[in-house]
Amino acid sequence: MRPEDFDLISGILKTRSGLILSPEKVYLLESRLTPIARAKGLETLDDLINEIRLHRKEALLSEITEAMTTNESFFFRDNTPFDLFKDKVLPELIKRNAQTKKIKIWCAAASTGQEPYSIAMIVKEMGAKLEGWDIEIFGTDLSNKVLEKAKVGLYSQFEVQRGMPIKYLMKHFAQVGEMWQISEELKGMVKFKPMNLLDNYMGFHNYDVVFCRNVLIYFEPDMKTKVLEKVRKAMKPDGTLFLGAAETVLGITDKFKPVTGSRGMYHTTDVSDALSSSLRTG
């Protein structure tokens, strides 16, 4: 690939999604964009790039961005954040929000739905403790295509086996041919909507918990700062944030603070001192 072609595509990706594509990832462009070229009746990636240069069609640009930003997702990916959510965050929220009986959870990179549905399964497991509560689980993603898959909730045998205990499969899925479909009950617990983390966060307020995992790694430092500060504004003053295993707030923003001993978990700074001192005395 010619350097000017790489610059063209990486420039489009950066403006549209914040994705930083380093030159050694050129293979990723080739493997993900060649199928798009073929589907359009073009022979090579070069032809596709010419087409972009000539017409800059919105639909094509957004298709390219989706193809490059879509990532694999598993149910209960990395286990730890879900264990922390179940054992620490949720019990604390049940106490703290006892008056309103409302909990708001946002999955900011929901991809094909595994993360919000994993959260829904955990909420379901709480049973009577959350009887009569209003639990909002909101999944957003840049890519509309992945969200369409999330809404249908149909997963392959491989997908339902990576990370998910068999008991959850038995409880919450039905077999449909070779695939497994998540129950209507769980689907009803999660709402999905396309959203770009670089845009404005209109309508996003008062979230108790935000999962924003494995998306910041693609952003440049100043973009990470901007996104995290906007996320912070969409949260309650005593909110909890989960980031991916390879991500951190350190050196990025002081709006969040790591929770000692809880990998990947962060509190909004307004309360983290009060909370950690109550943990020490409690």
Binding site: N79, F158, Q161, R162, G163, I166, K167, M170, A174, Q175
Partner: protein
């Protein structure tokens, strides 16, 4: 080092499972059918059993039921690993005392994630 008994009538599957599990630091023994597996367990109870369903002489489910009746047979974690992939088989296995269930084909990632779910990793 935890011991794992790999029970499958296919030599190829035993070899693949052995390679994955040895990399995850398990000490591997092999059995070719349910009866062979039961004899193995009575002689020396493993920590984990990775168990095929359809095998000659004694199938996986009959082995599991016999194992759970054996002295000390409650202890091993039993993970089914079979081409039987319908809900009826899964339910029958879990009711008989299986701890986890893998539907073939499997890969390293699935074995690793299932083993970690039941606290083996």
């Amino acid at each position: 080092m935890k011991s794992c008994l790999v029970v499958d009538d296919s030599k190829v599957i035993r070899k693949v499972a052995r390679r994955i599990l040895e990399e995850l630091s398990f000490d591997i023994k092999e059995a070719v059918d349910g009866q062979d597996a039961l004899d193995n367990c009575i002689a020396d109870m493993p920590d984990v059993v990775l168990l095929d369903w359809n095998m000659p002489i004694m199938n996986g489910l009959d082995f599991l039921k016999a194992l759970r009746r054996t002295d000390g047979g409650d202890n091993p974690v039993v993970v089914f690993c079979t081409t039987e992939n319908d809900m009826a088989h899964i339910s029958a296995a879990i009711s008989a005392g299986a701890d986890e269930y893998i539907m073939k084909p499997f890969d390293r990632e699935i074995i690793e994630s299932k083993f970690s779910q039941v606290g083996l990793l």
